[in-house]
């Protein structure tokens, strides 16, 4: 099964190009179908153990093998859901048929990369799949039409190259110090406290911090998200950044660091700084998507912070927050797409009173905002509660307090967003604005319902999560 997750999207990309030009409109729906299957795959019991061995020869040649666990299932589930939402948004916001076709293709390429990241067990393959994802994403951003597209894509490429260099160097050091680049070999090296292994790990972590936009390597993210076309920002914010940066960190924290102190401390400090800086930067933004972008930085800080807590609970909390944030943030970007389509601008100073004209968009965005701000009974509350609990159990009281109080800043900027965009008196200027079309509302409503359902029925979800074995 795991090999199919790589092969199917890959083959689909090739086959899509064989379609006659007229049939290319089906591209979006084919990609949608593949992602729907991927979502379903995450729910198949013990799908990890089913392996058709299709990649075995290739694996033997390159020395990589795939293994899935609860964490992989989580990423695969998020990829499916977010990808479907992005495709639906693309259908309504991209105008040109060719653009839509290109989008579907590149999403599938990125999905190959993300699925790979979810399942590999060695650092080199991890690096390769991170790069596959990144390349697809560069093009996705650069394919936009705005003025800042070049700046956004360029910053992302430039910083990604730095990350690649850091990670490649790190791989060299790992080979020197431990003689292997599998996660287990790295773990052995770190456990023996080999200095070179720790240097290598620090370099690799730095590379992933760039990919995951941790402060102080966060410079690219806001520009990239803002410049990217609407569906691309849905996809990037929902899964790309999180899979290639944050998930890789989760994987390393889980199977390599194993709760060792130096690694934990790095994650704690970087996570806490990112949370606070991201939240305060978000507070000052006037562009809808830019505010969401800084909010993303801050929220990904929570995931990293959780990894520094009590290992078992920390991974669970990080995974849950990963899911919640993927769902809610891609939903908010879908809301942004709906607004941009109606108003033609994302400047929040020009908006006001849109709640009266776009009630569904307003309502769903309030759900996502409150969930990310960690308010019960929405899903975001539970993951944040688990995060602070993991920190408290690990006796990191100060970090737990920072995590809790930063929620107030999160709430503050989301309230300011809601106030400036949706509440207030309806402006004359936007008298012509209407609720977005059904095609754009479906992903927003579906994702908001997931947030509510997971929040209200959280104990059941937790049971499944724990049964799934994170």
């Amino acid at each position: 099964m795991s090999d199919l997750l790589l092969l199917v999207p890959f083959v689909a990309v090739v086959l899509l190009y064989l379609l006659p030009k007229r049939a290319r409109t089906a591209g979006l729906w084919i990609a949608f179908g593949i992602l729907a299957l991927e979502t379903a795959a995450a729910f198949i019991d013990r799908f990890a153990t089913i392996d058709f061995g299709l990649l075995a020869p290739l694996g033997k040649l390159l020395g990589f093998h795939l293994a899935t666990d609860g964490l992989s299932e989580l990423v695969i589930l998020c990829t499916g859901l977010v990808g479907m939402a992005a495709l639906l948004v693309a259908r309504r916001t991209l105008e040109d048929e060719n653009e839509k076709f290109l989008f579907a293709n590149l999403v599938l390429v990125a999905v190959v990369g993300i699925n790979g990241i979810a399942m590999v067990r060695d650092l080199f393959s991890l690096y390769v799949f991170v790069e596959v994802t990144a390349v697809a994403t560069f093009i996705l951003i650069a394919a936009g039409r705005g003025d800042h597209v070049f700046e956004g894509a360029w910053k992302y490429i430039f910083l990604s190259v730095v990350a690649s260099v850091l990670m490649l160097t790190s791989l060299g050091f790992f080979l020197l110090s431990t003689g292997g680049i599998t996660l287990d070999a790295a773990r052995t090296g770190l456990a023996a406290n080999a200095p070179l292994a720790w240097i290598a790990m620090a370099l690799f972590l730095c590379g992933l911090f760039v990919k995951g936009a941790m402060v102080p390597f966060h410079g690219w993210l806001a520009d990239a998200y803002t410049a990217a076309p609407a569906p691309v920002s849905v996809f990037m914010a929902g899964i790309v950044t999180k899979a290639s940066g944050i998930f890789a960190l989760m994987r390393i924290a889980q199977s390599t660091l194993g709760g060792a102190t130096p690694g934990r401390e790095i994650l704690l400090v970087v996570g806490a700084v990112t949370i606070v800086v991201g939240a305060f930067l978000s507070l000052t933004q006037t562009n809808f998507k830019r505010m969401l972008a800084y909010s993303s930085i801050s929220q990904m800080g929570y995931i990293v912070l959780a990894l520094g807590g009590d290992l078992r609970l920390g991974i669970l909390a990080a995974g849950l927050h990963f899911f919640n944030h993927a769902i809610s943030k891609s939903q908010l970007f879908a809301n942004a797409a709906a607004i941009e389509k109606q108003l033609g601008t994302l400047d929040m100073d020009e908006m006001g009173g849109l709640g009266a004209r776009m009630p569904v968009t307003a309502g769903t965005s309030a759900v996502a905002s409150l969930s990310i701000a960690g308010l019960p009974p929405l899903a975001g509350f539970w993951s944040k509660l688990l995060i602070v609990l993991a920190l408290w159990n690990a006796k990191e009281y100060a970090f737990a307090a920072v995590a809790i109080l930063a929620s107030l800043v999160t709430l503050a900027y989301f309230l300011s967003l809601q106030r400036r965009v949706f509440f207030g008196k309806p402006l004359e200027k936007w008298a012509g604005a209407r609720e977005a079309s059904v095609g754009l509302l479906v992903p927003a409503v579906a994702l908001a319902l997931i947030t509510i359902a997971l929040g209200v029925g959280f104990p059941f979800a937790l049971k499944i999560l724990m049964g799934g074995g994170a």
């Binding site: 408290w392 307090a401 809790i404 107030l408 106030r419 937790l462 049971k463």
Partner: protein, 481 residues
């Protein structure tokens, strides 16, 4: 109109019921906390009721059973839920009157759906809070009331209205988050979130202080009181619901729940709380004396009266605690009446500025009389309900040998009389300014009159409510009652 009321009631019951189902299921499915002990979310949930639900029952029957179940819990369960009788006992009937009032008050504004939804969510969350015996659930419902009041205060969509709503939300959320740190610390200390399991724990003062920040911010007590007068931008039924009847009482109620019936209530904390309450009562009474906005005066009066409730609880004897619970009930009724009268005056006269009002006695006789009766109850004039609660609270201070606090609160009571008479004189007596607006809606006036009558009856037949409070308190404090 009638169906709206039915929906409101049914939804409220259903909300309570739904939370109970989730709870009971959670408790069973996680199997006594194999992995995460805090998920043993015990709530007064009766699995038998849920099994019957599975057979298929109409909403009405489900609601009735929920009520039955809740009531049975009271018969059977410990103190904590017993103590819960008082706030919902005061809050739910008052809430019903307020909702009735808003049928006419809200009728000509937009966003009515949001208003009724949030009012029902609010009352439902209040019920959930009262009946949860687990700190995590307490926090969940605590914040749901915050979300609902955010939308209720921001009902009008003017720029300042929306800003004030955000302010109220952020201030109470700050308190709640600090309290959450305290809750985590308690979990670290006791290894559980279950209130029953942590009974008798002695909390370090630091943790108590963290909890106190949350409680004081919700109850709008010094130094977190500023959001409450500002939230007066909301429609009057909302201010009545939030500031008089229910929201601000949550803080007091949870305080009683935590420090009277669960943790050891040590001397130092008692003095701190009583001092804060005293300062809060005097300062806000002073503010009420100089304000010129009808609703802000009543709001400051609420801040001041909450101080009395905290005083009663902080005295640590049964008399004070029973007085405080009685106070919650009586003050809720009377203060809702004051806010709703303010709503009638504001809507008909078009202003809340008391310098521009006067002589309204002539055109609004019913409102004026009802306002006066409610004001008597808040002042503590016998034989109104407010007298008994005020008397019990202050005599508890004397009984506990806290003469200073007793004197401070007597002064507070005096100030209450002053500012309420000032308000009444300025608005209803004297020379009329401008037009003498008539009382338009009979329903609205009837609601206010009803609340005034209840305040009076509550005093004349004080035996029944005080018996309720006495039983609740004797169980809360673990005294044989």
């Amino acid at each position: 109109m009638a169906d709206r009321r039915a929906i409101a009631t049914a939804a409220r019951l259903y909300f309570v019921y739904a939370t109970r189902i989730v709870d009971a299921r959670a408790a069973r499915s996680t199997g006594r906390g194999r992995e995460l002990p805090f998920l043993r979310l015990r709530f007064p949930g009766d699995p038998a009721i849920i099994r019957r639900r599975a057979k298929g029952a109409s909403l009405g029957r489900v609601g009735r059973r929920a009520v039955d179940g809740v009531w049975k819990e009271h018969e059977r369960r410990n103190c904590a839920s017993r103590g819960g009788v008082c706030p919902p006992g005061g809050g739910v009937p008052t809430g019903a009157v307020i909702i009735l009032f808003s049928f006419d008050y809200i009728a000509h504004y937009e966003n009515q759906n949001e208003y009724y939804t949030m009012a029902v969510v609010f009352l439902g969350a209040m019920m959930g809070l009262v009946f949860s015996s687990n700190l995590v659930y307490l926090y969940v419902f605590w914040e749901i009331t915050g979300i609902a009041s955010w939308r209720l205060i921001g009902f009008y969509r003017g720029k300042t209205d929306v800003l004030k709503a955000d302010k109220a939300f952020l201030m109470t959320a700050l308190g709640a988050l600090v309290m959450l740190i305290g809750i985590l610390a308690i979990h670290g200390l006791t290894g559980t979130f279950d209130l029953g399991a942590m009974k008798g724990t002695a909390l370090p003062l630091g943790i108590s202080a963290l909890l106190l920040v949350g409680l004081l911010s919700k109850s709008a007590t010094l130094p977190f009181q500023t959001w409450l007068p500002d939230a007066g931008v909301a429609p009057s039924p909302v201010t009545a619901l939030l500031h008089a009847a229910v929201l601000v009482k949550i803080g007091v109620y949870v305080f009683a729940r935590l420090f009277l019936s669960t943790f050891v209530f040590d001397e130092a904390l008692r003095t701190i709380v009583a001092s804060i309450a005293g300062a809060s009562a005097l300062v806000s009474a002073g503010a009420a004396l100089v304000e010129t906005d009808f609703k802000r005066i009543v709001a400051y009066s609420t801040v001041s009266q909450i101080g009395f409730i905290f005083l009663g609880l902080a005295m640590g004897n049964a008399l004070g605690a029973a007085g405080a619970l009685l106070y919650i009930l009586m003050h809720g009724l009377a203060k809702a009446g004051l806010f709703l009268s303010a709503g009638i005056v504001e809507q008909n006269a078009g202003t809340k500025e008391i310098t521009k009002l006067g002589g309204l006695m002539r055109s609004m006789p019913w409102t004026a009389v009802a306002f006066l009766l409610c004001a008597f109850s808040v002042m503590g004039i016998p034989p109104f309900g407010g007298f008994f609660s005020k008397y019990m609270v202050i005599s508890a201070a004397v009984k506990a040998d806290e003469m200073v606090f007793g004197a401070v609160f007597l002064a507070g009571a005096l100030l209450t009389i002053l500012y309420l008479f000032r308000l009444f004189t300025k608005v209803f007596l004297g020379e009329p300014h401008g037009v003498l607006a008539p009382e338009k809606s009979r329903l609205m006036v009837a609601c206010v009159v009803l609340l005034a009558a209840l305040s009076l009856v509550g005093g004349l037949a004080v035996g029944w409510p005080s018996e309720l409070a006495r039983v609740a308190i004797s169980q809360m404090l673990g005294v044989a009652g």
